[in-house]
Amino acid sequence: MSETMIGAAPPFTRQITVQVNGEPRQADVEPRLLLAHFLRQTLGLTGTHIGCDTTSCGACTVLLDGTPVKSCTVLAVQADGRDVQTVEGLMSGAALHPIQQAFHEEHGLQCGYCTPGMMLTSVALLAENPDPTEEEIRWAISGQICRCTGYQNIVKAVQSAAATLREGS
């Protein structure tokens, strides 16, 4: 699908340019297009998932200028001129980000549906708090739902990634 509007015709669309995972992406979009749909449908970045319709589950979480937001509750037009990081932007070339490696090693995922959002929120947390306690991690991810893991291994994964990042710096 081309990077243009979904099913809409002028005069309803606006041109936006969003920096997505370090690349400028330009498109004509309707103002009502949610950022989550812009990422998934317009740009084909399907790593950002949708799990509910009341801004409750956080499966759609991405980083907007480094801050976790629920992309289903942000309009694509609001991201014009701004920076969005999705799960697809975590790797550096072929190297996994420590958070990805940690989720894998600590069995922090089962079905994988909440995982992209959990990892991005964790990345933002560790940028602010390089040595979080279990309580601080649970607090930071309390806007997101996981049905599979019971959260305990997600906590372990974040603590493991924190340790790796502290060693590296």
Binding site: T46, L109, Q110, G112, R147, N153
Partner: protein, 781 residues
């Protein structure tokens, strides 16, 4: 036992499937994009019970970007307005005469994009004539209740079925002779599996070839293919169901939903792929809910021992009887209700009723209603402990089935394969520090603080199941494994089951590693594509390891036997001269003379002995000889806030026994997920209805799922009592914690108040209910 380098059973091998998920490269149904694909949205009924007077779709059809609007009338013209259910009933695909629950599918719009489809939904005008809604089974079965299934020939009331199990006469006798009878009336509320990914499909019927490819959120793709063939009248060899990555199932993705049928019909009629992805409201309001089971249980006690158990249940089936459960068992496997206890006589009877609610009942990690049974017996035993003045853990231990009694035939006819309940209980109490906690509880009580300790010792039954007893919609519940190793020693395992996060790509490769000595990294596990995998009944009710896991082991052993013949040929000796220590065959007494499994595989393509077929593959369809019976003891400690009624789990200790553990890390992950669901059910999950049948709990603001903040920390332990009949001694485990833990949480809360005479609190045990109980016994602040 395989060598450590091979990493077969018992190793916490890191998951192979993670690679795509951590990169955001999973392939879920909503990620599928096909050329020319259209989008479908469903119009749902706002009423729980209403006649449809008329539907006007003109304005919707005229909206630019709309390709088609489908109603029940159009579906009826193709004989698709109704479809059979997995329980022998029929279910409306799109409503024609009436709507029978709030959220029922009434029409569908197919458009160029989902935004336009949603715009068009608002333009459809439906004229409803509301009718009185039936919102509970007691109301449904009462004299004069509105008839819900008036379209069904021969249906004169709202009664669906009556079913019984056990020995009524023996049970009556036990009760007549009892010293004491303890009873409990309790309701297991309607809750919902609510996986994070909603249900959906991309249906692609190719008009030129007649090929129908349906990407579908399916836990049972082969069974779904067969049912599609029957329902839609499409030739089965032309149907390909692809269940790709599934974002959680928990039983929600076992039924066939109207959306799948309408999308497929639309694709057939329009000649374009049609994507339908429901939203969360659609998922909660219309797809297969769980439980909604009214239970009255009585325990007969003689000389301190349980002598009889009788249970009467009333099941709310919703508007259509659409449970996925083995045909012979209307109450699923509820008759496991004697649980871990040696109870000589038991009798169970149940009635199902139609109501104006969504259809379902068997879902949400229930092992076919074992959740209900386990909850009832563990709450009943807890009540008995208080009535008898016996410590709740001790009363359980006094009545456990003993190790020497296995295999044990229960009063309702189950043959338990193996168990050692005392050891699991001992370990749990030791990890908990039970004695010290009881002392702490007493001291806290003196200080005015309320602490409770709840224990639950569950035994459940999984692995459906032996063909002489089990079938779903007539399909027997065997399962399958097809294994092929390529010349370079790496291979593919194809299964009839379908993971939704349970880690099959890793655990099943480990089974092959154990039997054949080929490391898990070298075995690619494939599931979900019906064109590419052997027939199976899918993954739910913790059946994959007991059935397909056994099939994998059996087929791998067949191939090992073939390898042994090849090895003898390569080593120029007799097969009897060889011994196997994975991954190699060596000559007895001359261990340096040997060949690896990879050497044997290569030879299967390059250097075969005469008379033996080339290639290295096999397929096994495994009919399990029995079910498997995982068990465990869970303990929860809570403290209650006397001012607000809030309760907080201070500790959760879980000891599980699922026989041989293929991958301990994955087993623990399953258990922690189940303990969380158990907590959620005990604390906050509820789908409720007002008297007009309006659904409260159809979105995540009302249907509450705990976050990491509410969810407690879990302490895990294990015992290992292998299954004697399973080739690798394994039992299922996926549902154990959801089955066994709700009673542990509720027992803990009741235990905090039992000294004041409180015996029961109904789930979800919300703070206001606790506070009401506190008030009644003068403990509220």
């Amino acid at each position: 036992m395989a060598s450590p380098t091979v990493r077969g059973l018992g190793h916490s091998v890191e998951r192979k499937e993670d690679a795509r998920f951590i990169r955001g490269k999973g392939n879920y149904v909503d990620d599928v994009v096909l050329p020319g694909m259209l989008h479908m949205e469903i119009l749902r009924s706002p009423y729980a019970h209403a006649r449809i007077v008329s539907i006007d779709t003109a304005a919707a059809s005229a909206l630019p970007g709309v390709v088609a609007v489908v109603t029940g009338e159009l579906m009826a013209a193709h004989n698709l307005a109704w479809m059979p259910t997995l329980s022998g009933d029929t279910q409306a695909v799109l409503a024609t005469d009436k709507v029978r629950y709030q959220g029922q599918e009434v029409a569908a719009v197919i458009a160029e994009d989902p935004y336009i489809a949603k715009d068009a939904l608002e333009l459809i005008e439906v004229d409803y004539e509301p009718l009185q809604a039936v919102t509970g089974p007691q109301q449904a079965l009462a004299e004069g209740a509105p008839l819900i299934r008036d379209e069904k020939e021969g249906q004169t009331d709202n009664h669906v079925y009556h079913w019984e199990a056990g020995d009524k006469a023996a049970t009556e006798k036990a009760f007549a002779e009892a010293d004491k009878i303890v009873s409990l009336d309790t309701f297991y509320p309607r809750c919902h599996p609510s996986p994070l990914e909603c249900c959906g499909c991309v249906a692609d019927v190719n008009p030129a070839t007649g090929q129908a490819t349906i990407y579908m959120t399916s836990q049972a793709p082969h069974a779904h293919r067969t049912l599609f063939a029957i329902v839609a009248g499409l030739p089965e060899e032309k149907i390909r169901i692809i269940s790709p990555d599934i974002g959680g199932g928990f039983g929600n993705k076992v039924p066939i939903y109207p959306g799948y049928v309408v999308a497929t019909a639309a694709s057939l009629l329009l000649g374009h792929p049609v994507k339908w992805i429901e939203d969360r409201t659609g998922n909660l309001i219309s797809t297969g809910f769980a439980r909604d089971y009214h239970m009255h249980g009585e325990l007969a006690i003689k000389d301190g021992k349980f002598s009889g158990l009788r249970v009467k249940m009333l099941s709310d089936q919703g508007a259509f009887y659409a449970d996925a459960q083995p045909t012979k068992f209307r109450a699923g496997l509820f008759h496991i209700v004697t649980g871990s206890y040696d109870i000589p006589a038991a009798w169970v009877e149940t009635d199902g009723a139609y109501t104006n609610k969504a259809p379902g009942g068997v879902a949400y990690r229930c092992s076919f209603r074992v959740t209900e049974a386990s909850y009832l017996i563990e709450r009943l035993v807890q009540t008995a402990a208080y009535e008898l003045g016996v410590d709740p853990a001790q009363l359980r231990m006094d009545n456990f089935i003993k190790p020497e009694q296995f295999p044990y035939t229960s009063a309702t006819g189950f043959e338990y394969d193996s168990g050692d309940y005392q050891t699991a209980m001992d370990l749990c109490l030791e990890k908990l520090g039970y004695k010290e906690l009881r002392a702490e509880q007493a001291k806290a009580r003196d200080e005015g603080r309320l602490i409770g300790i709840g224990v639950a010792s569950f035994t459940e039954v999984v692995g459906a199941g032996p063909s002489k007893t089990y079938d779903i919609a007539g399909l027997k519940m065997f399962d399958s494994a097809e294994l092929r190793i390529h010349p370079t020693g790496k291979g593919v395992l194809k299964l009839g089951v379908k993971s939704q996060g349970q880690g099959h790509e890793t655990t099943f490769a480990q089974i092959v590693a154990e039997e054949l000595g080929i490391p898990p990294e070298d075995i690619e596990v494939q599931e979900g594509d019906t064109d590419n995998t052997p027939y199976g009944l899918g993954t739910y009710a913790s059946r994959s390891t007991p059935t397909a896991g056994a099939a994998t082991s059996v087929v791998a052993r067949k191939l090992r036997a073939k390898a042994q013949t090849i090895a003898a040929h390569l080593l120029e000796c007799s097969e009897d001269d060889l011994e196997w220590t994975a991954p190699r065959f060596s000559v007895k007494g001359a261990p340096d003379r040997g060949v690896s499994i990879q050497d044997c595989v290569f030879a299967a393509y390059t250097n075969m002995p005469d008379g033996l077929e080339h290639g290295f593959e096999g397929v096994t369809y495994y009919d399990p000889p029995n079910m498997t019976f995982p068990f465990g003891t869970y303990a929860v400690v809570v403290e209650i806030d006397r001012g607000t009624g809030q309760w907080k789990p201070l500790r959760v200790v879980a000891v599980d026994d699922c026989g041989v553990r293929i991958n301990p890390m994955i087993v623990e992950g399953q258990i922690m997920g189940g303990l969380t669901e158990g907590y959620a059910i005990a604390a906050m999950e509820l789908i409720d209805f007002d008297e007009d049948g309006n659904c409260i709990g159809s979105n995540f603001m009302d249907y509450l799922i705990p976050t990491a903040w509410e969810t407690p920390h879990f302490e895990l332990g294990e015992t290992v009592t292998p299954s004697p009949h399973h080739p690798i001694g394994a039992k299922g485990v996926g549902e154990s914690a959801t089955v066994g833990s709700p009673a542990a949480y509720v027992n803990a809360i009741v235990d905090a108040l039992a000294h004041a005479g409180v015996r029961n609190l109904e789930m979800p045990v919300t703070p206001d209910k606790v506070w009401a109980a506190l008030s009644e016994v003068g403990l509220a602040q």
